[in-house]
Amino acid sequence: MSSTMSHPQNQAMEPVGIGAGALTGHDVHREAPKGPQGLPPSNFYAPFRPKEIAGAVALIGYLVVLCAVWAAMMIFGDWAIVGLFRVLGASLPAAELWGNAIANILFVVLAFVMLLATLLTMGERKWSAFIQDRIGPNRARLPGLKNHAFWGIPHILADVGKMMTKEEVVPAMGNQTLFHLAPAIAFAPAVILFAVIPLSPDFTLWGEHLHIGVAPHLNQGLLYIFAIASIGVLGTSLGGWASNNKYGLLGAMRASAQMISYEVTLGLTLVGLMLIFGTLRLDSMMSQQTGHLFGFLPNWGVFYQPLAIVAYFAAASAEIKRAPFDLPEGDSEIVGYFIEYSGLKFGIYMIGEFVEVVVFAGLFTTLFFGGYHLPWGEGWLAGHLGPTWLAGLQVLTFLAKTVFFCWLSLAVRWTYPRFRYDQVMNLGWKLLLPASIANVALTGVVILAGGMHGAAIMGIVELVILLAWVVGAVGVRRSGKETLLPTESAAASEHG
């Protein structure tokens, strides 16, 4: 039985000139398909409407109110606490500093570090999108403001909501206590590291002597940083171990090895700075980074210790486990020490990483880039604005510098591929550590021989050589060899 259709007559009945195509009508009487191809243009990128302007104003207003609250706490908190102690009849030495201290803690931790870190979670996603020619997250909306994405910021709220409502899975065979404790141990050092960083010089507002920064006057500022930074490894290694997961443990082991290795470099790179500034106090270092070298260069650490900057940046990246040193996470291979974590505990690990980014960007700013100091014109501004307004401007300067180095950290993370484990160890022990030791020795010799001025000249010479090297003017060019891949060159040498 055949089901074949035959159509001899149909074709014969077509008028002359119309071929077999007429049978299915693909070339006669065919209308252009009418689909909804031209949709109404998107209002997604339309100019702002009143509602949206209101939303943006609300966002800025939040920041302003935050600052106002801080200022109010600074001033009235003082009075309130001092009054409280007076009422209680107790006498408290330097009681007037307590309000300042509490307000500083709240401001620095909540408004500065946490806010920046929170924005960085979205910043990473959005900035990486721009680096990769994408748009990035833009779907979440604020209630009542459906027409604007606010650069993805509502996603932060969505993420927080997700993290808080997600089921928290706890591995039954893991160490329960440490499992719950580990995120806090990892998170706390990152936050309290910021304590010794001064965000502004001391200034006077309405008769009160104030400064921004929790404990910038600490004598052992740098040592405090080394001490607290090394605690962070506990959180990761305990978290990985307590998960009772082989991948978690693997990540934890990598984290421990890497962080301990790079702590040495991290410390040694800063020894040069100690030698130059002759102090461990960060506020003291800060106050020394004012003025100008040779009349025009800002008197910043970068011009004394350019080698240390490179080493420090690499070591700091490794210390906070950011790409290209993110082997402990290694999301594409072992997921890492937090593999068993979910919900808010994972969220704490994640936000902790961004807090670390902010903290190290702040340290970088403080140590090498003049902290809150403007590069030029501070003297003129102090004359015209007065020290109080200048202090406000300097806080913004510090913020700008910190944000820039956060961005740099993220740009590095989205530019370079992850190191292999042996490469990390080679880089740390064989290159960065010898280089930082050499830097210490060199700095010591130069300071002995030429003092601060000699150190500045050395730094600038180093910087010029480094830049020239980067640009490619100096350096040994070996003909043709660069263009060969390793295997190709090996083959060429074997068969050549």
């Binding site: 074949t4 259709m5 001899p8 014969a12 002359v16």
Partner: protein, 572 residues
């Protein structure tokens, strides 16, 4: 490809040298003389020994060479209308002869693949398509249409005809079962010859001349013969179509399952065209000793019994008290109703003559051994009209089967579907009855306290039932029918059991189990085995070993066969 007689055949002579028997390729061997009544022929180089007197088409068929034809039919007279079967023979190379008309003779060589023949075939096909509408898309024949197949096989070229086509009657109702489309007709006259020669009722004829020729009924009459459906079967194109089947399904969706028609006692072999659990039509199957290749119209539409008005679910209680139950619950309820009646003289068992032999056996042993009855009553469809060809007056397909079963089990069979008046409880295997069904149903509903009915279709009888169990038709089960002259014909399951229905032996097994009886049948073959062990005519046959065309049991043949009815070979 099977090539019979190749052991004695010579190597194939090429057609060009065939006219010279002494050529080098054929000189090595000689063709052995054919046995008495047979002749040697060579078809496209293949040697065949064929009976004397067959035509070239049949001779070529012996060696699997297909000569195309429209009008030729082995059971009809030769018309030579279509000119599709033109071939060359060694008698006259370069001339074409009609393969249907020319008979074989000793040593004849037939050529069906030469350029001349191919040209002729292509031309014939093209001529047939000159006025054909090629509306295959709406034509029910497409898929089983010779014109369609041959177009692909022998023409396969666009038509060169650019003139208007002749308009002819379309959708002309010829009779109750047949509709005619004149434009599709290629005027092969198979239908006319069938009505003249086989049905002996010349109700249609070719009228008109030239390209206005068409088939039409005689003036004032219509094609209402009892065999009109066969004209649809033999129509090679879509000109005559079955009104019952029309537009219900495309033929390529259907599977042809061999079974037996249950519309009368003749037991015609049919193929049921089925798709999923539905039968769409019956087509006759060839069985020279039962129905030849024909089928009557009543049988052709009898599949509707399996499709329409079925008892779908078991029901307990009649009228307003009716409840629909699952199989298990219905069996339990029925068994409870039957339990106090075991051995009672107030109980009677009716077995329908429409059941399969296996169902009858199961019902009979249930009556005898579980219900403790000495006699059974037979019921069935009322007799109808018959003729001397394929239609029997007895409309029950298996009346001799019930006799056989009763005899084998030693039960008294009373050929009446009205048990004695004192029977207040009745078990009916099969809901068929004679007489005025609605009146009888009302009477039974009043008179009977218990009426267990295993029924296929809803009737007044099933309405009166207190316990109604859905019964499968013969299409839904394996089994045998014993036709009017004692031919035991086996059929296989054609479709799945529809709704909740089961064969009677399956119901018996369940009821028997519920009543503590010993008769548990797993299959029809098991029931047949029980019968074969007890019945002398069956003589230890097994269901699996029965051939598709059936076997004739001794001692059941009628004294005289109807005049034209097909009968076992060698029977007068």
């Amino acid at each position: 490809m099977a090539e019979p007689n190749t052991a004695t055949a010579s190597p194939a002579p090429p057609p060009s040298t065939a006219a010279a028997p002494a050529g080098p390729s054929t000189s090595a061997t000689t063709i052995a003389p054919a046995p008495e009544g047979f002749v040697n022929v060579v078809v496209d180089g293949k040697h065949a020994v064929v009976p004397q007197g067959v035509n070239l088409i049949e001779a070529a068929r012996q060696v699997n060479v297909a000569i195309p034809y429209f009008c030729y039919h082995p059971k009809l007279s030769i018309a030579g209308q279509c000119r599709m079967c033109l071939v060359e023979t060694s008698d006259a190379r370069g001339r074409l002869v009609a393969g249907c008309q020319i008979r074989v003779k000793e040593g004849l060589q037939i050529f069906t693949k030469t350029d001349l023949v191919k040209d002729a075939q292509r031309a014939s096909e093209e001529f047939h398509l000159v006025n054909h509408p090629v509306d295959c898309a709406i034509c029910d024949q497409s898929g089983e249409c010779k014109l369609q197949d041959y177009y692909v096989g022998y023409d396969a070229k666009p038509s060169r005809i650019a003139t208007y086509k002749v308009n002819k009657p379309k959708r002309k109702i010829f009779g109750p079962l047949v509709v005619y489309d004149g434009e599709r007709c290629i005027l092969c006259t198979r239908c006319v010859r069938f009505m003249n020669e086989i049905a002996k009722e010349p109700q249609i004829a070719m009228v008109g001349r030239g390209d206005h020729s068409e088939i039409d009924t005689v003036p004032g009459g219509q094609l209402d013969s009892k065999y009109s459906g066969n004209t649809v079967d033999i129509c090679p194109v879509g000109a005559l179509l079955n009104r019952d089947f029309r537009f219900t399904s495309r033929v390529w969706y259907l599977e042809n399952e061999r079974t037996v028609c249950d519309a009368c006692a003749n037991g015609c072999n049919v193929g049921a065209d089925v798709r999923a659990d539905e039968v769409y039509r019956y087509l006759p199957k060839r069985n020279e000793e039962v129905n030849d290749v024909w089928l009557c119209d009543d049988g052709r539409v009898s599949y509707h019994r399996a499709m329409d008005g079925r008892v779908e679910t078991a029901r307990i209680g009649r009228g307003d008290a009716a409840r629909f139950l699952s199989d298990e619950a219905a069996v339990q309820s029925t068994a409870e109703a039957l339990k106090p009646l075991v051995g009672s003289s107030e109980l009677a068992v009716l077995i329908s003559k429409t059941l399969t032999t296996e169902e009858m056996l199961a019902a009979a042993v249930f009556a005898r051994d579980v219900l403790g009855q000495k006699r059974i009553y037979s019921t069935g469809r009322p007799p109808g009209s018959g003729d001397d060809f394929l239609i029997r007056t007895d409309k029950n397909p298996n009346a001799p089967g019930l006799d056989l079963v009763a005899k084998a089990l030693g039960l008294e069979l009373i050929d009446a579907d009205d048990p004695k008046n004192h029977a207040q409880h009745l078990v009916m295997f099969g809901a068929e009855m004679t007489g005025d069904l609605s009146a009888r149903g009302q009477a039974m509903a009043q008179a009977l306290k218990t009426l267990v009915v295993l029924g296929v279709q809803h009737t007044p009888i099933t309405e009166a039932a207190t316990h109604l169990l859905p019964l499968s038709t013969h299409l839904e089960q394996e089994g045998t029918f014993l036709n009017y002259y004692g031919r035991l014909q086996r059929f296989r399951q054609a479709i799945p059991q529809r709704f909740d229905s089961m064969p009677a032996w399956a119901w018996v097994t369940r009821l028997s189990k519920a009543l503590g009886g010993q008769w548990l049948f797993e299959s029809a073959a098991e029931a047949f085995g029980v019968l074969a062990a007890k019945s002398a005519p069956l003589g230890g046959k097994s269901l699996e070993a029965l051939p598709d065309t059936g076997v004739v049991l001794e001692g059941l043949a009628p004294a005289e066969y109807p005049a034209r009815a097909p009968r076992p070979a060698g029977t007068k």
